[in-house]
Amino acid sequence: MATQSKSIERVVPARETISRDQMKRQFTNSGIFAILLMVTILWLIPLAWALDTALKPESETTIFPLTWLSSHFTLQAFASTLSTSDLPRWYFIVRVCGHVPGHYPATDRVPLRRVHLQAVL
């Protein structure tokens, strides 16, 4: 009986207890938010650094000490990649030809790979 009355107290708490519960929940949630934000930043840094490097002029990608900022951000790397390499053509070929047969060698099962390679050879 004692436990029952205790549980009823929790169902219909007094006004102060609600606000204290809410405050506690808000406190926990902001703590969780902070943790998640830190992990998220950690997860995004590699991607952000890759983008940052891509937007720097070539000569500034290897300077030391390194910096996130650049003297001027440029799309030069994208332009030269698209104009001087076969990237667009390969992208098209992979999209069209590589999609369905690509699933077979993509599995790490070696017998399949071997046959695929023999077929290509």
Binding site: L44, W49, P111
Partner: protein, 316 residues
């Protein structure tokens, strides 16, 4: 109780009686069904069954990529040589080490992130995006990004270490650190899948169970330990099984990051198979090694399934 069972048995009998058709019609019906499955069966036999059986046959011969197929029958000679090869055992050990190091993080971190995100907090989309985004990238891009970060000297990680006054680390060339670097890259790359699976599992747990538990006076920790984690049991088993299989097959990110180095300390067993098969042209020997790995994965998976079934029986 017995009456309802009787009724159910009767209903089952009736259900079985209904689709029983005349002989020829049924035969033709099955033939049509078989016709529908045939295209898949042909592809399956041609690209899966046949290579697997051919691989088994190859493993018994001194089969060479540069000619010399079935000329020299070795019996179990390839397997004997394999088990005597210290390089094979060390490669197998690296694969197992990678699995043991990566799987706990990939499961527990995914669960922790999913539990944290499953609360009423703002900017959920950002967290979901951040954890899943790396998985969309192909392995070459992932390796390129991380090689750039790991670069000694002007790489982001080592420069940051220097800036805060710590000694730099040769992430990919120090034999004691290289495997850890590989595991870090793998966690960053693939934790998003398990995270997403856990998130889906969490959303299937009915909310009223938590309400009932709160009424009974259970705190947040008790709710997680007594409701959330037990109800996620099935999805945890699925994730662990898939993760162990995937980790035992590790190859591409290691091969691209370190080529199995330094001094072969990160070379996984798939790379050993690849090198004996395609650099030494000994596909018969490589097939034998593939079959040993295949049996290992089969045994591990069967063991996990047995554990799962025992768990379920205890639960029921």
């Amino acid at each position: 109780m017995s009456l309802s069972q009787q009724q159910m048995a009767q209903a089952r009998e009736q259900a079985q009686r209904v689709p029983r058709m005349k002989g020829t019609f049924r035969w033709r019906n099955e033939l049509v069904g078989f016709g529908f499955v045939l295209p898949f069966l042909i592809a399956y036999a041609l690209f899966l069954l046949w290579p697997v059986l051919l691989g088994l046959r190859m493993s018994l011969y001194n089969w060479n990529l540069a000619g010399g197929g079935t000329s020299a029958f070795l019996g179990l000679g390839n397997y004997q040589e394999l088990f005597a090869d210290a390089n094979f055992w060390s490669a197998l050990w690296h694969t197992i080490l990678f699995t043991v190091l990566s799987t706990p993080f990939l499961v527990i971190l995914a669960l922790a992130l999913a539990l944290l995100i499953n609360r009423t907090i703002p900017a959920k989309w950002l967290f979901r995006l951040a954890f899943f985004a790396p998985f969309v990238l192909p392995v070459t891009v992932v390796v390129l990004i991380w090689q750039w970060l790991f670069t000694p000297g002007f790489g982001l990680i080592n420069s940051t270490l220097t800036a805060i006054g710590l000694p730099t680390v040769n992430w990919l060339t120090d034999p004691h650190v290289a495997m850890i670097s590989v595991v870090v890259v793998t966690i960053w790359w693939t934790v998003g899948v398990n995270f997403l699976l856990y998130l889906a599992g969490l959303q299937q747990i009915p909310q009223d169970m938590y309400e009932a538990a709160a009424i009974d006076g259970a705190g947040a920790w008790t709710q997680i330990l007594r409701i959330t984690i037990p109800l996620l049991g099935r999805i945890t088993t699925l994730i662990v099984i898939l993760q162990v299989i995937a980790s035992l097959q590790v190859f591409s990110q290691i091969y691209l990051l370190t080529t199995g180095g330094p001094d072969f300390v990160t070379r996984p067993v798939i790379q050993y198979i690849y090198e004996t098969g395609f650099s030494s042209y000994r596909v018969g020997f490589a097939s034998a090694a593939s079959y040993v790995l295949f049996v290992l994965i089969l045994v591990v998976t069967a063991g996990q399934f047995t554990l799962l079934q025992r768990q379920q029986r205890r639960g029921a």
